[in-house]
Structure formats: C-alpha cells, structure tokens
Amino acid sequence: MRTSVLALLAVVVSACSGAIMGGMVEPMTSATGGGSSGTGTGGGSTPATGGGSSGPTWQVERFACDAQATPDELPLRRLTQRQYLNVVNDLIARSGLGATDRTAVTTALRDELAPFPADRLVGVPGEKHGGFTRLDQALQQGHVDTSYTVATEAGRELTSTTARRTALVGACATDTSTANDAQCLRDFITRFGRLVHRRPVTPEDVTFYTSVAGTTPVDAAVLADVIGLMLTSPQFLYHFEEGDPMAAGPSPLDAFALASRLSFHFWQTMPDDALLAAAQDGSLLTEAGYAAQVERLFADARTNQALDDFFSQWWRNDELPPLNTRIGTPIFDAFAGANVPSATLHDEMNAEVLELARHVARTNASVDELLTSRRFFARSPALAALYGQPAWDGTGTPPEFVQPERHGLLTRAAFLASGSANTRPVMKGFRVRNGLLCTSIPPPPPGAMATPIPLSPDLTTRETVEQITEQPMSSCRGCHIGLLNPLGFVTENFDALGRVRTSQRLFSDDGMVRLEKPISTRTAPNVAGFFEPVDHAGQVHELMRQGEFQTCFARQYFRFTFQRMEDDAKDGCLLRSLQDDALAGKPMAEVLKAVALAPSFKRRDVR
C-alpha cells in the first residue's frame, strides 16, 4: 500500500516539477519533493536532524555558508511609506511643540501625507502572490512630489505662530533682538537637523541650510524654508549610510547609521533619544552596548508594528477578502445563519493570527509554536462565536481553544474563510504550500480557469475540486494532486467562515438545504517527504515543523530584514544561522534578534 501511494505521488509531483527522468519514475527524495525551493541559487545541502514522522530518507535541505561570499546590497534605500509616515509623526512629536499644537500640525498635514505612494508587495519573481512592501524600492514622482509638499507645509505649520516658533527654535527666535538671530538659526539647524538627519549635521550642512536665510534669519518664512529643505534632504528620505568605496570589503556602519538601521528595522521609525545617545557616546559600537540596545528595542511595544507587518505579509493576510460582500444572496444568507459577517470580520480574523505571532514573540516560544499553538486570541464576539467560545478580553494568559478540531495555525479562521459559502481548497493549499513552505509551484496551464466543466450540483466542494483538477491525463492533475489540493482538503472540516463542520450543506439557488453530505479531510500531504494519508491539520502541522516551515521562515525574515530577495550562495551564512536556530527550537524572539546581531546587519558594501 505504501509503495503504491508513493509511486502515484511521485508521478504527479514529478510531472508538476518536470522531474520525470528517462521515462522512469524516480522515487521522491528531499531534493525534488517537499524541500523548499524558494528563489535561491541552491548551494550545498547537509544532513539535518529532521526525521520524526516523515519518510526515512527525507531531510530538510540546509543552507550552505560560504564565509568568503560577498552578498549583494541595495543602493541607497528610500524610506518605505510606513517609515516615512512614522518619521514625520515622530518629528512633530519631538519638535518641542505643546500637545495642542502638535495635534494641529498633524491634522494639517494629513491631507498632504495621503498621496505618498503606497509600497507594493514585492515577492519571488514570476510568482503573483506574496511578498513584502519593504522590498519595493521604486522611486516614483509621487515620492518626490509628496515629500516636497509635506516638507513645505510642515515648515509653514511648525512656524506659523510665535508660540510654535518659540517652542521649536527657542526664545531667540521671537525676542526683539536681531543680534542673536544668526546664531539662533545655526543652533536650531544643529539641534533639529540631528533629528532629521538622524545624525549630527556637518558644518557643510549648516552652511547650506543657513544659505536660504535673508537679512532676518529667524523670520517665520525663513524657518519654514529651512525646515522644508531639511525634510526633503536625502539624509531624511533615504537610509543614508556612508562607507569607504576604496576599502577591501564592506564597510562597518558608523554608530549613527547603525542606530538608524536598528531603529527602522524594529520600530520602522527614527532612533529615539536613548539610541542616538548610545551612538553619540560610542557605546553602540561595543558588543555589550549594541546587544543591550537590541534587547531594549525588541522589548519595546513599538516593535509590534514590524512584527505585524512581517507576519501579515508572510502569511498573505491581505488575500482574505471582506466577508460581507455576499450578504443578501439566498445561498450565503442561509449558509451564514446567525454568524452574519460584518465588514470588519476579516480584519478581526487577521488580527487574531497576528496576536498569536506577537504572543509567540513575547513568551519565549519557538517558531514551531506559530503552527501548533492552541491559544485563542479572538477579541470580538463575532469571531469568537465562530470558534464556539467567548471572546478573550486581552488580559492574562490567552485561553485554549475549546474545540478539539482546532490544532493550530491552519485551523484559525484567517486561514479558512473565503468570502463565499464555499471553501476554496486550492487557494488554501496554495497559500500553505507556497506561502508557508516556500515551495514554488508552476503556473497554471493556459486557460486552466477559463473553461467551465459541467458539474453535478450534488458534489461537495472537495468533490468539485477533484472533478475539475484531478482528471486523469489532464495538465492540472500533477500540481493539484501532489502539491495543492491535499493542503486544502485537510481543513475541509471547517466551513467558509471557519466554523467546525462534519458535513457540507448543499443549497438550492433560493437558499434551501437541498442535500447534506459528509466531508472528508483524508489526504496525502506530501510534506516532509510524507505521503501516507493523514486526517487532520494537526498531523500536517507536525510534518511542516520537520524543517520546511522553519526554513521558509528563515527565507522570509531575511527578505523582510534586508529588503531584497536572498541569494542562497551569497547569503547562505545568515540563512543557515536563522535556519539552525529555528530548527533547534530556540525562542522566536532570539531568532529575530539574532538577525540584528549578525555581522551582515552591521555593515554596508559601498564599493
């Protein structure tokens, strides 16, 4: 029995990956089967400690470290949209203005900030799903235009009243003496410029910024222009990291550049005073001082935004559509019953899985816990009702799921809901295989979705998918039966709102239950080289944690951190380190912090 199942799956998966050799079907091995493919250029693989319930020959492919390799680097990265918005708000907050004025300035800038171009998700070339907004380094006219408008408007707003000028620049800006004006302006540029440039301004900078002044250097219009110039400067809009172009290798970041890199990585904004002070006094360049700052930044709640961005984009939360769009149609209304979805239910579902990620990051739990945790984080009654238990109030230890069918990540509503009355097993499977396991899947054949197949109205969703995608000899069958469908079918014991079910109701067009058929979750997952049938998501979670999930995590976090795709050959050392730590079950927090502690995080190649 085992042999026949293996042979069948070997055929279909090999067809999908084009790995049929000489007409002979080769048994699946780690190299062609479940191993992550990502986008890397390969590199050596060494034995791993995998094993577990997977096949006896399966082992996760390990990254190879070439210490001599020089990774590629990005030129002068611009701030992302989120970073830019955060920094503008932080500057206003640290401007010295009173609370009322800060609010007024923030409000005045709201419309000006709105057109700043949103960053696009940039992912694996050739794949249309996933990616991180941090990787979007396109420079658009909108970036330049909007930042200019914001800068000039911010200058006007911050200096529009005597009180604001006094608070921002000092009493010298509004006293009756003009003798101190020039020094007053230079002091302001030095002080405020340190925040804007995120490093001390140079004498040349001071000279340049003061060059816009006329005969009355601290006139409101002059100050507005100076602020406008600062907020359009490359030191403000870009991660301005200098080095030695003539050096033999990458240059270590100086203390202020390192402070910024740390701050933008964890907080998505400019360094705070403590971090700037650590850069100023040199302690940031000591091993202990740097480690202490990494600890401090990671522990701060401001890191949560970056965690949310990382996990929501890795897990493709944006693909969960609004769930209320079919309200009013007989089938959906009958399907939803008392659980009528609100316009925000999908956001609540996504928030729940992000809360899980935060919980794992804050409780010394391992990366595996993301998959296997049965903690329950639903805050809204509507979402909690789908789980069959009361909402969590957000205090204390989160409770566990009461439903035994909830095994972990894949059984949370955010990974189950579809927006219609039917589940979408193919898309569920794709999201897990491609998104969570980093397995590349060939594009569908031409016209795959354009030709309707006559179907019996008596089929369950699973049966329908099997009819459409698993036809013998069809070009769809290989990928669907080997890669996509199993990881969708295994959660078919949850409906399209994420509710537990044992059967599927089939509706007539007027919303009447016409038929009720038992569902089946039995499937051969092809994860970690395992092809035996499994019956529930918990078993799939166990297989995923044999190595593919952690390896995918390593790739994804690398991309998020360095804002580019990894190169397995050149980036292998850091990838291997991440992979090793995740596979060893280290706390996820330690793994995340380790990236910032790595040598490659603290240097830049400007050659």
């Binding site: 030129p75 002068l76 709105a114 057109p115 171009p117 949103a118 696009r120 070339p125 050739g126 794949e127 249309k128 396109a138 420079l139 658009q140 006219q141 909108g142 970036h143 330049v144 235009d145 200019y148 000039t152 340049f208 060059s211 816009v212 219009a221 222009d225 406008g228 110039l229 359009t232 400067s233 490359p234 030191q235 809009l237 870009y238 200098e242 080095g243 030695d244 172009p245 769009t325 079919r326 309200i327 009013g328 149609t329 959906f332 316009a343 927006g419 219609s420 594009p443 569908p444 054949p445 031409p446 016209g447 795959a448 979705m449 354009a450 030709t451 309707p452 190649d605 400007v606 050659r607």
Partner: protein
C-alpha cells in the same frame, strides 16, 4: 484667431470655467495640412473582456462594406449604424446609451475596431493595454516568460517623455494623469529612459485627492519656492565621496524627479479652479466604489462617481494640465453580489448564457453611463474653430481580453475622437482573417479568427500623436510596439506562422489602414 470666449463645464461634481487657450489648439504644420493637432490621449481599460461578439461588436452589413487586401487578408470597414429603440440608441447591445446622450453626431465621432491579437497566452494582465506585457499573472509558461522578457514602458509614458509630444509644458502639471495602478509603467529615470521599468502609482485615488492635485491651493506666496534649493542640496550631497557609484545613480534618479517637480511648480494655467467634488463621491476611491457601501452593487451610485471623475478629467484636459489620461476601471457595475472574477468572468462562456448576460450588461453600463459621458463632455468643449476637445482627442476603451477571458484574440477597441483628423470616425473596422479559424474549447458562442497584432494598434496610437518611430520601434525585432514577438504558442491548433505570418509582423509598423487617415 480670437479666442476670448470661455466655456463652462457642468458636471455632477464640478463646475469649471476654462478660457480657450491658444496652447490647447496646437498650430503650425498640422493646421497647414488641414489637420489639427492630435492633442489628448485618454485610455480607459476594463478587466476581463470575455464579452461575446454578438453583444460587443456592430454587425457586418450586407452592403456598404469597404474591403481591402492587407497583410495577406481582406480587411473591412463599414459605417456605424445607430439603431434607436425607445429612449436608447446603439450600434451594438453593449454600445448602447441614452438616445439624447449618444446622439447621431456623437456616433459619427466614434469608431469600433476589432481583430487585434496578442499571439501568445497572456492570461490575466493589466499592462498589455498599453504595451507592458510583463504585467500579467503568469498563468501559463508564455505569461511567465513575458514577465521576465517583455518588461517595457507603456505608450502613455513613451508619449509623455517624447520631445515630440510635449513641445510646450507651460501649463502641464501631469505628463500623464494615471487614474489607477498596474496600467502605466515607466523607467526609473524617464528623462534619460534608464533604470528599471516600474509601475506608476496613481497621483490620486479619489476625486477630492485628484482635485487637490490638479488645482492646488495657491495662497499668498511670500517667498520663492524652495525647489531650486532642494535640487542644489541633492547635487551637493551627490558629491559625497563616501557614497557608492550606485548610490549616486540613485540620487541622480531623485534629482531628475525634483527637476520634474520644479517644472510642475513653474507651470501656469489660466483656468479658474472648478468647484471641488462633493460627498459622497469626493473621498471615495475606485476600490471603495466597487466594494463598499453605498456604492457596491449600486450601479447608479457607482457610475455617478465615475462621472465626477470624468468632470475632473475634462477639466484637466481642457485646462491643459495634462494631455494623457490612463486608468483601469473595474467593470463590476452591476447589482451582482458574488465573486465577479470567478463566477462571472470565468464562467462567461457557460452555455446557459446567464453569466454572459450579467457580464455584457455591466459593460453596457460602463459604456452608457461612463464612457459616453466622458466623450460627450469632451465634445461639449468648443475649442473655437468649429471643433471640440473631443475632435482633438483620442478616447479609447480597451479590454483585458477578447471574447473569452484569459485570451487576447479578436480584441476590440472602442474609440471616440479623430485625434485632430488623423483617424476615421463613424465607422467599424474589422481586421480579422475570415479565412482562418483559431480552434478553442468552446466554439458555441465564440469563433475566433486571427487578426492583426496588438503591437500595431499601439504603434498606430504613437504615430497618430506624432511620436517618431525611431524613438520606440525596433523593426529588426518586429514592427509596432513593443518589440516583443514571442511565438511559442502552446494552445492553438493552428500553426502560428499561418495565423500570424511574417507579413503580419512586418505590417505592425504601419498605421492601421482604413482607420488611419
């Protein structure tokens, strides 16, 4: 020529008084040749296509057909006939609108051209409308290859950065007014046409934001703008020896865009700003119009929003703030409540015709309440020589696919305006080779015959607007635009060389016959 009159545009969201500007009229050689300047290019694209020809296309009449041999096939044109039924008038079921709006005169400024092909599998795409075939969903090997190898700037950007197009930038605030994402693509540095090709995000995503962009409040300027100093600062910083060469390249890209900003700030328009758009349309984005209350599933409100955008587009063109407008429109202008993509567009071929019915009626809504509205508003702007802004413009509606979704065969272009007399109007043109047939799965409702190349349409547009071919064509690869002639067809039973022989590829560099004057 005395141009003292002002015209007034009245729409739902804006009222604007615009002086008739000499700069709007063009002059010189074109007028001397009896043509006026081809001034404005407006391209609205819609997702999916998949509308059967019997709903989309005017019917070939039995008489009055002009026939011509071209590129190895007979091509045909005939006068559009407007049929009035009740309060509506149309040239096909989709191309029908209120009789009082879609007048005989407006019909005579319209053309319908069919028989354009992308001769490989492209699948879902948004970039193909304007020539970047790489912006597709990589469904199928051909699409994936195009993602890698067919990355091109789109023709709107080719136009906008051609020295032949914007010869006078005095009033121009936006070289291209981009109304939606994923349609317009340009170089990282469009001035030098260097760097990676990247998507151009919309300047604004709501009528209010667009209004603010086009008509910024000018207030009292006490001092000169600081943009000159911003440029100086970047040039200063660029000399920092501790930056890498690629860092300086990056700063150069930024400097180019600051220069463009500097130009925009210096632009001047004599137009009085129109009345700002009002609620509930002002702050709604296109996405909200499709998915959120009170717009979703409410075609009346949806199309009202588009008409507000039309007002702003006409104001921008009339004031000379731009000459190019492009945007992708979600065509879900329908009360349908389900998954349009999967359940309507992908099921549009279903034999019962129910989804096709939903689909074509939504396209009709787009034509009737959005597209004709824009054409009529452009036609209401008299530019002073007995011509209207529409006469100087080319307004086109393009679709993602031909009569079957995922399949750009027999693509249809619906156009208004003669681009200053360079295009024939009041006609339908059919470029298909009726002696050949492209086999496909469902021929009950769709029989596809090979036409001319989409490249030729795009090249014709560029030539119509006077962009020298030397700027954008690589005839050693293929005629027309872009230079991408991938021929690895996978799913056509007919041989590619038979369907699209070399004669067709060579002809792609021509201006389209019958349509071009």
């Amino acid at each position: 020529m005395t141009l003292s009159r002002r015209w007034v545009l009245r729409g739902m969201g804006a009222t604007v008084a615009i002086p008739v500007l000499p700069s709007l009229l063009g002059a010189g050689d074109a007028q001397a040749q009896g043509m006026m300047e081809a001034r404005n290019f407006i391209n609205l694209g819609t997702h999916h296509g998949a509308c059967w020809e019997r709903f989309m296309c005017p019917t070939l009449p039995s008489t009055g057909v002009t026939r011509q041999m071209y590129a190895g096939r007979e091509i045909r044109s005939f006068a559009l006939t407007r049929t009035v039924a009740g309060s509506n008038a149309g040239v096909s079921p989709v191309l029908t609108a209120a009789e009082g709006r879609f007048t005989e005169a407006l019909k005579n400024k319209m053309f319908v051209a069919r028989g354009f092909d992308v001769p490989w599998y492209l699948g879902h795409h948004t970039g193909g409308h304007l020539g970047n075939f790489a912006r597709n969903d990589a469904n199928g090997t051909d699409g994936a290859l195009a993602q890698q190898n067919a990355v091109r700037a789109t023709i709107d950007q080719v136009m906008a950065w051609s020295p032949s197009f914007y010869t006078d930038l005095t009033s121009v605030r936006e070289r291209v007014l981009v109304l939606s994402g994923r349609m317009s693509y340009a170089w990282q540095n469009p001035d030098t046409k260097s760097g990676a090709i990247q998507e151009i995000t919309p300047q604004a995503d709501s009528p209010q934001a667009l209004f603010r962009r086009l008509f910024p409040s000018t207030g009292m300027q006490q001092r000169a703008p600081i943009v000159d100093k911003v440029l100086e600062n970047y040039r200063r910083v660029r000399t920092n020896p501790r930056l890498s060469r690629v860092d300086r390249d990056r700063l150069d890209d930024h400097i180019q865009r600051v220069s463009e900003l500097q130009r925009r700030i210096g632009s001047t328009s004599a137009c009085t700003p129109p009345t700002p758009p009002a609620a509930p349309y002002a702050n709604a984005s296109m996405g909200a119009v499709i998915y959120n209350a009170p717009f979703a599933r409410n075609p009346t409100e949806q199309t009202a929003w588009f008409r507000v955008m039309n007002d702003l587009v006409v104001a921008a063109l009339g004031c000379g703030l731009t000459r190019v407008v492009v945007g992708l429109v979600n065509p879900y202008l329908s009360t349908y409540a389900g998954d349009w993509h999967q359940d309507v567009a992908h099921q549009a071929d279903a034999a019962d015709g129910l989804r096709q019915d939903t689909l074509w009626r939504s396209y009709n809504t787009f034509f009737r309440d959005v597209f004709v509205d824009l054409a009529a508003k452009l036609d209401a702007v008299n530019v002073g020589t007995g011509q209207t802004l529409l006469d100087r413009s080319l307004l086109v509606w393009t679709q993602e696919s031909g009569h079957r979704t995922h399949d750009y065969r027999d693509g249809v272009v619906v156009g208004f305006g003669s681009a200053g007399g360079r295009l024939s109007t009041g006609i339908a043109v059919d470029y298909r080779n009726l002696n050949l047939r492209l086999e496909s799965a469902n021929e009950m409702n769709i029989i596809t015959r090979p036409g001319l190349l989409w490249h030729q349409w795009l090249g014709t547009v560029l030539q119509t607007f006077g962009i020298p071919q030397a700027e954008w064509e690589r005839p050693q690869v293929n005629g027309g635009y872009p230079d991408y002639n991938f021929a690895n067809l996978q799913w056509q039973a007919i041989n590619a060389q038979t369907a699209w022989p070399q004669a067709v590829w060579r002809a792609a560099g021509d201006r389209l016959p019958l349509l071009s004057v």
